[in-house]
Symmetry: C2
Subunit: 117 residues, 2 copies
DNA sequence: CCGTATCCCAAATGATACTG
DNA sequence: CAGTATCATTTGGGATACGG
């Protein structure tokens, strides 16, 4: 249930031993990016997300989106029009998460652009 | 090189299309946790990290640690004593990263403890 | 247009044993 | 103690084609 981590001997932050719930999803490929893409462009259609993650396949994107919806991080609004339209947006919790993710990705991006590929 | 993302039409944050560098490593299992464990206990020995991530195998942990070192996020200090001792700590960049990771994991932990497994 | 269903392959993780 | 090497396995992810 909890972290079962009582070793923080120097008063610094606790650690986060268990690997469950949201973290597992976040670890999957493209998940963090998807969250941020939605956060930056919501409401956003499937195709747009796809455009932003050109290297991700349809099925992967679909899977990620579903997982995120299952975890209550994004909403999926379907409009029965012709042509069909579906819009994804963040839930309140998703927005919370995104607030943490954005600075992280920004940081990672900076660091990547220095010397690595 | 860059994000190639110029679609931020509403003035909100940019998005982070490419999946490279640090993010790739962060996506691997246990990476975020390892960073935070080191951050909370540095300098920390291999066995201690292992104790904090009971479900991770030796080889996985070893691989992660090496990747993190390769990316300049952690340092590895080896003392040629008997018994051998190795200590891991964060680099400046690692600490930066950890600063982003901690709130994220904290948030994730809270959320996980609510209803999910 | 927005996906889901399938199949296949590659990568990643786990388990274990053995060495400096 | 701190790993590395190896092997087996699982899982994730890519491609594709078809359905609503």
């Amino acid at each position: 249930m909890s972290t079962n981590c009582t070793l923080t001997d120097d008063g610094s932050p606790t650690c986060y031993c268990p690997l469950s719930g949201v973290i597992e999803v976040l670890g999957r490929k493209y998940t963090m990016q998807i969250m941020c893409v939605i956060g930056a462009h919501e409401p956003v259609r499937f195709g747009v997300v796809e455009d932003h993650l050109p290297t991700a396949s349809t099925s992967t994107l679909s899977a990620r989106l579903e997982e995120l919806a299952d975890h209550g991080l994004v909403t999926r609004e379907q409009y029965d029009e012709i042509p069909p339209r579906v819009e994804y947006a963040l839930t309140d919790r998703g927005r919370e998460l995104c607030g943490h993710l954005e600075p992280l990705l920004e940081w990672a991006e900076e660091r990547t652009n220095r010397s690595e590929v």
